[in-house]
Symmetry: C2
Subunit: 463 residues, 2 copies
C-alpha cells in the first residue's frame, strides 16, 4: 500500500474542510431541479451551472452540453495514471408532493439532529443524488488541493433527467463515445447494506414506465343523466389494473415470466448470508407482511423478481366534496421492474396489447412511454471490484459486501451497451433516507465517510 | 279560463322586460357559488344575499337563515288565494374543472349564438339551477308588477347545498315545518322532454355518495426499493372497484337488487310512447352502445334501474411526467343511483361491508358519507299535476308529457317525508345544456318560455 501516507494527508484535509463541504451541498440543495416538471426547467439549468462552476474551481476541464431536455455536464482531469474512471451522478431530483408532509421546506436544507440522535442534512436530493454525487467531487477536491493532481485519470458525467426517464442520455453517450469511454464507470446512487456495512451493488432491476389514458364519452357526463347507459373510464381503468395481477400476486401479462431466470444457488446463499431482517424492513414502512409473489424471501422479491406497480391513478372529480360526474377520461402511471434477460421493449408491447384487448367498443386508449431499461448484473471477481471492496472495508472497518438493488439505474446498462464498460455501484446512502418521499435526508456521517471512501478508492485503483 | 286576459297582460310584460331578466340572470351567474369547495363559502353567501335583495325588490317578505353550511333563503307572498305553493331552487353550482375545456370564463356569462344557431346564455349554473330558478322569480315579478299580487299564495325556499350533499336542508325543513308546509311543492331543476315538448317529471332516482380512502404503508415508498414486497393501495382500490360490477354490467353488491321492482307494464308502455331515440341520445355523448345491464332499453337503464358509478379516483403521482412511488393511500368517490324502495342506509352499509371484506392485512380504509336519498315517485292523476300539464301544453303548443329522470333531487323525498307534500318537477332545461360539464348553457328560448310557463301555471293553479 505505497500511497498510504499521502492518503492520510488527503483524509486529514477532508476532516479540516468538512464544514465547507456541507455548506457547498446546502447551496446545491437550494436549487429546485425537479426534472419531471417543465415548470422547473430553469432550476435544472441552474443546478448544472452550479456544478460547472464548482468542478472548474476543483481544477477540472468542464463543458456543459445542451440536450432536448436538461443540460449534461462533462468534466475531465487527465493528469492521473491508469485506470481511467468515469464517475456518473444526477443533479435532478424527484417532485416534492405531498408538500404538507414535509417538516421543513424541501428546498431550504437544514442540518439538524433527528429523533434517533443522528446528525443529518435534510432536503429534496439530500441523498438522491446531490449528497451522494458531492462525496466524489469533494474527494477529488481534497486530492487536488493536497497533491495537486488526482491519482487516476477521472472523467465526470452529470445529467439532469435520471428521475424523469433519462431519454436524452443514451444519444449523448453514443455521440461522445470516445470522450466518455473509460476502464470502469463509478456510480454513487445506491444504499449502504446497513448502517455500518459498505457494499458494492452488482444487480439492479430494469424498468419500463408507461402512462395510459382511457377515453369514453366526448365530454364529462352527469352521472344521473347518463349513469347506467354510458361507459365510465374510471371503471374500465380499474378493471384493467385489477387484471394485471393474479390471485397469487404474480403479474398476469402473457409470457411475463418467460425470460425470468430463477436465482443461482450461490447468489441465494450469498444473500442469505447477509442476515437481512425482513420483519424490520417491512416494519420500517409500517407493514408486517410481504405482498407480491408467494413463497419467496423479501430480498428475492426486491432484487430478484419482476414487478408491476401502479404509481399513479386519476380520473373524474378529485377535489374537495363530491361531483356526480362520469368523466370523459381516466389515466394511470404504471411501471414494471425487470430482472434477468427481460426485454423492456417486449414487456411494453405485451402490456399495451393486454390493455388494448380490454378497451370496450366506443372507448379508446393512448400510451405514453416513460422510459425503459434492462436489468443489470456486474460480473464478480474483477480486479477493480475487488480493489473497491478492499478500500471500502478499510474506511468502514467492516467487510464490504456484494448486494442487489430493487431500483433501476439505467445508465449502467447504457455504459455496457454503448461503451462496453462495467459499472461499480458504490453508494453511501442509508435506506431510511426517505428518497422520493417527504423529509428526505442524508446522514452527515455518510456524507463524511462517503468522501473519505472515494479518497481511498481513487488511490486503491492505482495499486 | 277566467283569467286569460290578465295572463296575457302579464305575458306581455314578460316580453317587454325580457332583456332586464337576462341581465339579472347574468348578475347572479357572476357569483362563484361552488358549494362543495370551502374556498367559495363567501361566494355562496353572496349568491344568497343577491337573491334576498332581488326577492325583496319583487315584493316578497324575505329572510336568510344561517346553517352549519351555506345560508337558506325563505320568501313569502301571502296575498294570493289557495292553493299555497312552495317553490324550491338552489343557488349553488358544481365545480368548474377541467377549466381548460371552457370556451369562456365559467363565471363571466356570455349571451351568444352557438354553432346550431341557438341563442344561449353561458356559464356555470346557467341552467343548473340559477337560470331555472330565475324563471319562477321573473314570473312572480311580472305578476306583482302588472296585477299587484300573485294569483296564489307563494313561498320560496332557496338553498345552497344541492350540489354538495345538502346535509343541512332536512333539519331546516324539520325545524320550520309550519312555515314551509304548502299544498304542493314546485321544483324547476329538470329538463324538457325534447326541444319543444314540455313535461312534468314524476320519477327520480335516489342517491348514495361515498368516498373511500385506502391506507397501506406509513409513507410514500420508492417502487424500486419496496416494489414486490409492499402493498400498493392503488392496486387494492382498483381491485375493489373492479369487484363492484359483474361481467353482465350488474352491480355486484350482495342483495343490491332485492328492493328493486321491475317497472309496471303501463309505465313501460308510457315510456315507449315517448319515442325516445336511444342512438341519438348516445351519439350526443360520442357513444354508440349502451353500457350497464344487458337487455334493457336505455330509458329503463336511466330512469328505472339502479347504478354504481366511479365519479373520481386518485392515488400516487398524478402530475406531469413520472414518479416511481408506491403511495401511502388511494381514494375514490363512488355513487349509487337508487330506484323503487331501495334504502340508502342499507346500500351504504352493504357497500362498506363489501369494501371492508377486501382490505388486506396491514391496510385500512376510511369512509366519508357524501349524502343519500331514496328514489321518488309522484302519484299520477292529481288535480294540480293535471292543471300543470294543461298550462304547459298551452304555453308550448305541444301536449306536455309525464317522464322519469335518472338524476336525484333529494328535496322531493324530504318534502314528502317531513311535510307529507308532493312535488311537481317542472323543468325548462334542454338535455344538451352541459350541466356539470364545461360550457354549461341555458337556451334563451327556454329561459323566456320558462318564465311564461310559470306565469300561466300560477294562474292555472287557481282555476
Amino acid at each position: 500500500m505505497p500511497h498510504t501516507a499521502t492518503v492520510d494527508t488527503v483524509l486529514a484535509h477532508v476532516e479540516a474542510g468538512f464544514d465547507q463541504s456541507v455548506e457547498r451541498l446546502q447551496e446545491l440543495l437550494r436549487i429546485k431541479s425537479i426534472s419531471t416538471d417543465p415548470a422547473f426547467a430553469e432550476d435544472c439549468k441552474a443546478a448544472a451551472q452550479w456544478l460547472v462552476d464548482d468542478l472548474t474551481a476543483c481544477g477540472f476541464e468542464v463543458a456543459t452540453h445542451l440536450t432536448p431536455g436538461h443540460p449534461i455536464v462533462v468534466a475531465h482531469d487527465r493528469d492521473g495514471t491508469d485506470p481511467h474512471v468515469l464517475f456518473y451522478g444526477h443533479y435532478d431530483v424527484q417532485p416534492v408532493d405531498p408538500l404538507d408532509l414535509w417538516d421543513t421546506d424541501p428546498f431550504v436544507p437544514q442540518v439538524k439532529t433527528i429523533a434517533n440522535g443522528t446528525r443529518v442534512i435534510t432536503g429534496r436530493g439530500a441523498s438522491d443524488d446531490k449528497g451522494q454525487l458531492m462525496t466524489f467531487i469533494e474527494a477529488c477536491r481534497a486530492w487536488r488541493h493536497v497533491v495537486g493532481k488526482l491519482p487516476v485519470r477521472v472523467s465526470i458525467l452529470l445529467e439532469g433527467e435520471e428521475e424523469s426517464g433519462g431519454k436524452n442520455l443514451p444519444a449523448f453517450i453514443e455521440a461522445n463515445m470516445q470522450e466518455l469511454k473509460a476502464d470502469i464507470a463509478l456510480v454513487c446512487d445506491t444504499d449502504m447494506w446497513d448502517r455500518q456495512t459498505p457494499c458494492v451493488t452488482t444487480m439492479l432491476r430494469g424498468f419500463v414506465g408507461e402512462e395510459i389514458t382511457i377515453f369514453c364519452a366526448n365530454r364529462d357526463l352527469h352521472s344521473g343523466t347518463y349513469g347506467g347507459a354510458a361507459r365510465n373510464p374510471n371503471q374500465i381503468l380499474a378493471e384493467i389494473i385489477a387484471s394485471l395481477h393474479d390471485a397469487d400476486g404474480r403479474v398476469a401479462l402473457e409470457g411475463f415470466y418467460d425470460d425470468v431466470a430463477e436465482l443461482p444457488k450461490n447468489v441465494k446463499e450469498q444473500w442469505r448470508g447477509l442476515g437481512f431482517d425482513e420483519n424490520a424492513f417491512l416494519a420500517g414502512a409500517g407493514l408486517s407482511l410481504p405482498a407480491g409473489e408467494r413463497d419467496r424471501s423479501v430480498l428475492e422479491l426486491l432484487w430478484g423478481r419482476p414487478t408491476c406497480e401502479i404509481n399513479g391513478i386519476f380520473g373524474g372529480y378529485t377535489g374537495e366534496g363530491f361531483k356526480t360526474v362520469i368523466p370523459a377520461r381516466a389515466s394511470a402511471k404504471i411501471s414494471f421492474r425487470l430482472v434477468s434477460n427481460m426485454d423492456p421493449r417486449n414487456i411494453r408491447d405485451t402490456f399495451r396489447a393486454h390493455v388494448r384487448a380490454r378497451i370496450p367498443a366506443d372507448c379508446s386508449v393512448t400510451f405514453t412511454d416513460h422510459g425503459g431499461s434492462p436489468a443489470l448484473t456486474v460480473p464478480s471477481g474483477g480486479a477493480l471490484l475487488n480493489k473497491a471492496l478492499a478500500a471500502l472495508t478499510r474506511e468502514w472497518g467492516k467487510p464490504a459486501v456484494i448486494i442487489g438493488d430493487g431500483g433501476s439505474i439505467p445508465v449502467g446498462g447504457e455504459f455496457k451497451r454503448i461503451l462496453g464498460m462495467d459499472t461499480l455501484f458504490i453508494g453511501c446512502a442509508q435506506n431510511d433516507d426517505l428518497i422520493h418521499s417527504p423529509n428526505e435526508k442524508y446522514d452527515l456521517t455518510n456524507f463524511h465517510k462517503g468522501i473519505r471512501s472515494w479518497v481511498r478508492l481513487l488511490d486503491a485503483f492505482v495499486q
